[in-house]
Amino acid sequence: MYYFDNAATTAIKPKIIAEKMAEALCSGIYGNPSRGAHEFSLNSFKKVYEARSKISEFFGGGGPDRVAFSYNVTTALNLIIKGILDPKDHVIITSTEHNSVLRPLSQMAGWGVDIDVVRTTGDQALIDYNQLEDLIRPNTRMIIANHSSNVTGNLLDIDRIGRICKDCDILLTVDAAQTAGVIPIDMKKSHIDILAFTGHKSLFGPQGIGGVIINPSIDIYPIITGGTGIDTFNTHQPETMPTILESGTINTHGIIGLLAGIEYIEERGIKKLRDYQLELSQRFYDGIKDLEELRFYGDYTGDRTAIVAFNIGDVPSSDVASILDERYKIAVRGGAHCAPLLHEDLGTVEQGIVRFSFSSMNTKDEIDYAIKAITELAKMV
C-alpha cells in the first residue's frame, strides 16, 4: 500500500501520537476539563491549557486564551464566518477556496453579505494581487485567504495580503488547513487576525480536532451555545475567549494527540520536515513532467506545498485514481476536490484532477514506484 493522499489526511502518523493518546486514555486521570475542581477535571484543564499555550506559541497567536478548539477547520471557519460577518459587510476571497469557506459564505450571502472572488488564471492558477486590492470597498470587512490550495498546492502570499489588510483596516482570516504544521506561520508578523487550522493533516493529530486563533479586540457572536462549566446562571453564553466558542465537552484526548503532533514537529524541525516533503514532491514531478500525455495544474516554480496535480490525456481523474488503487495499491485523490471555483478556472469540472500529496512519512522508494506507475498509465492512453 502506498499512501499519497496526505492533503486529505495524514493516514500514517508518528507513533508517539497514538502512544500519548493511549497513555491518556489508559491513565484514568483525565476528567472533564472545566467541569468541577477535583483533580481529574484539573488534570484535563491543565493539559488543554498546555496545548492552547503551545498552539498559540507555534502560530504566533495572542496567548492561550485566544485559542478555541473545534472539530476541524470547517467548523472553525463556520464559527468565524457566521460569528463575525454582518449583513452589508463585504468579503473578498480567491477562487482557490474550499467549500468550507464557500458554503458558509453562500449562506451568509442570503443574509446580505456581499462577496467578491479573485479568479486564478491559466493552468498555473496564479492570483493577481492587484486585482484583489482593486476590489476593496469602504465596507470590506474581511479577506479570507486559503494559505495553500488543496488542489494545486500553490501558496498564497500571506505576508502581502496581510499588509494590504493592515493598511485598509480589514480583518484577515487565513485557512491553514493545508499548511499548519508544514509551513511556518506567524500571525503577528503576517498581520493575520484569525487563523483556522485542523489537527489531522500536517500537524499529525487525530481526526476530529481543529481550532481557531482569534486576535484580541475582535467581537464574535457564538453560533453554538450551551454548557461551559462557568457562569451557569447566566442565560447567555459567556463572552470571554475561548469559552464563548467552546460549548459542551471538548475533545481532550484529541487535543493531547494534537499536542503530541506539534511537539513531534518542533523536535524534528518544521523546516527540515518541509524540505524533505518538497524534495519528495519535486522528485515525483521531475520523474513525470516530460510525459507528453500529462497536463499539470499549479505553479511548480513558486512556493508550494507537497502536491502534484495533473490529468492523463482526457481520462477522467476518478478512473485514474481507481486504476492506481486497484492495480498499484496507490491511494490518491481523483475527482473534484471540494474547490468548485478553482475547477471552473482550470476547466476540470467534469474531468476532475488527479492529486498526489506527500508527507514527511513517505519515502523516496515510494516516489519512484509512483513514477513508474504513472509512466505505465501514460503509455496506455
Binding site: S318, E350, L377
Partner: protein, 88 residues
C-alpha cells in the same frame, strides 16, 4: 475490452450500505469514485459484474437502498464509456 456495471448513488452512505449488502450476499463488487462524466463532483459508485445485475437490483430493492441510476460501462485501456440502463 472489459465490461462492467456501475450503480451511482445520491449519498455515500447508500453506496457503502449497498456494498456491504452485495458483498454479504457473495457478489463480486467494489466501490470506486463516481466518474465525472456521469456526475461532476465527488461521490462513490458500486462497480459490479454485469451477470449479477438482476441479483443486485433485487437486493437494493429488498433493502430499500436508494440509487440514482445503473450504468453499463466498457473500458479499453484507460478509456471508459458509460450507458445508463436503469433509472430510479
Amino acid at each position: 475490452m472489459k465490461k462492467f456495471g456501475l450503480v451511482v448513488f445520491d449519498s455515500t452512505h447508500s453506496a457503502i450500505a449497498a456494498e456491504t449488502l452485495a458483498k454479504g450476499s457473495g457478489l463480486s463488487c467494489r466501490l470506486i469514485g463516481t466518474p465525472g462524466s456521469i456526475v461532476a463532483g465527488c461521490g462513490l459508485s458500486l462497480r459490479f459484474e454485469l451477470e449479477e445485475l438482476q441479483i443486485l437490483k433485487d437486493l437494493l430493492s429488498d433493502k430499500n437502498i436508494p440509487y440514482k441510476g445503473i450504468y453499463k460501462g466498457k473500458r479499453r485501456n484507460l478509456q471508459a464509456e458509460y450507458i445508463k440502463i436503469d433509472w430510479r
